[in-house]
Chain length 356, copies 2
Amino acid sequence: MRIKEFSAVLGKKNADFALFYSSDSIKINPNVFYFSGYKGLGALVMPAKKIPFLVVPDMEIERAKKSMIKKVYSMEKKKFFESVYKVIKKNKLRAKNIAIDNNNFTLTSYKHFKKQFKNIKTKDINLDCLKLREIKTEKEIQILKKSCNYADKIIQKAINNFKDFKTESEASSFLDYETKKNGLELSFSPIVASGSNGSMPHYEPSNVKIKKGFCVVDFGVKCKGYCSDITRTIYVGSPSKKEKEMYNLLLSIQKNTINQIKNNKKCSELYDYASKILGKYKDNFIHGLGHGVGVEIHELPNLTLNSKDRIRNNMVFTIEPGIYFPKRFGIRIEDTVLFKNKPIILTKTSKDLLII
Amino acid sequence: MRIKEFSAVLGKKNADFALFYSSDSIKINPNVFYFSGYKGLGALVMPAKKIPFLVVPDMEIERAKKSMIKKVYSMEKKKFFESVYKVIKKNKLRAKNIAIDNNNFTLTSYKHFKKQFKNIKTKDINLDCLKLREIKTEKEIQILKKSCNYADKIIQKAINNFKDFKTESEASSFLDYETKKNGLELSFSPIVASGSNGSMPHYEPSNVKIKKGFCVVDFGVKCKGYCSDITRTIYVGSPSKKEKEMYNLLLSIQKNTINQIKNNKKCSELYDYASKILGKYKDNFIHGLGHGVGVEIHELPNLTLNSKDRIRNNMVFTIEPGIYFPKRFGIRIEDTVLFKNKPIILTKTSKDLLII
């Protein structure tokens, strides 16, 4: 995506090329995927003025050739940066100023890299990449909409079947199964946090019986590599009047916050708005208001207290206020939202309190 | 695990403490988990002579308190290393020589870290941690055995149901579902690669019909955070005599290689042995012979051509020769093996060619 704009970034930075790498088959460098569509191990080199290429281990060559990058070189076993260096020499690329992503570059890799690339300067382009990725293209928006549609369809099916799930794991594995059955991946391991477990925003579902009370279900799929993210809190049993009020308060805050979204609005102001109208529950809101969504589940913009980001056209992000009471329960309501002149909610599953 | 041995490592390195961090909720720093059992965001500080502690965001405090570490501090929002620095000052810890894991430390984090920790020296303990983790404790071996038992049980169930799966995704999501239903996690996204897809060792299953011919199924679960890893190649349809011979050749190589495993044996020699007896298929073997398995799916020892590792008691690793023919098919047979005076195969699913 946006390879031309990226070339302009390199030009401005006076960088000869950008070098990204994925050394871990579990967590692929998001920039490698964003620019190439390749999800395997290896390095992606993007020269400022020539076409990009991949250097990958033998076992990945066939997969790499199926990506958007047509120039693929073989990497010698265990000689990662040595192989990249050789290919760069072979292509007679100037290598004085090299752009790298400091946030996807480990100290170990840097040492190996500098052993090959001597007398060079590196320029950190982490933020430049995040800033590029923050504004989605029309093509990306179409994929993100599809991703959200799938998330809706699958979470709705889970809600419809919820009374049949005995344990949190069963509910979570149902979400998982439906995702894979549709040929999709998960954005993250689904969260099903019942009763007191709901007070831990990043709780991992376990093989325990679904407790009575609020149950937080946080779920998202990856469609063609693009994430969606949705949370619904349902109620197992009979909620008290106070519980209903609390849920509806949070829901109105979520809706009102979405209505505050305008072009150029500071993200920190949105956080502040939600935090203020939470009133006495302000301190029970223990995480950010939201985050950008794209090839990564967490990217720019940041909707937090100290964020410097502002809302712009074609951003896609979550709005997810929550309140948490340690050892008692938690409630969170989250949508993925596209901003295009106005906020457009992409996840459409009903937010009325669902009582199971 | 092995906190005493780790203190000795710090002593030998003259380090005041070790600092590990997880900044990504998708991929947790394996050392944070190994030493603390904590799987959330935050920093783990392990002083050479005092008890370890965690510094975590508010939203993770409750989860952190359920780990093996009882001393948990709150991290100020967005002030990761600043918070860690404050806690270290508060605890009056000397901070001159700090041990860090260079392979789980990004350039961005290092910059933030050095802003707080001035005039310090860092010592890379990546290899020390890997070396500690390479030799399993009795407790870990018990968990790894359990993890392999689960992997066996689930892959066997998938094999029994295989004829009902229409697509690769269906087979893969079945493995997924059974994993979660048992309250386990996946070690990695299951690989179901049928027909020509089997020639890509890291192929991702997709929503395509299962093709006739060899089908590689590579799968593993995480039980209490510990991985298992098993691959079986089954045959859909009627294999030719030559295909059967090829499968049985690979199987005999896998078995014979396991029989070569002895205490103090060089891992590179094991690779060499398997590679040699592959004869004319030597060049179709495009990846390592195996890898250690523990809290990470890939850890030490490395069973590759250039490995410097040797087999020792209480190591757990895979033996997984494979042969691949681009655009045609692939075959791989993999077991997780414990070495304890002799090789003990922990994954016990039958390796006879299964024809579906």
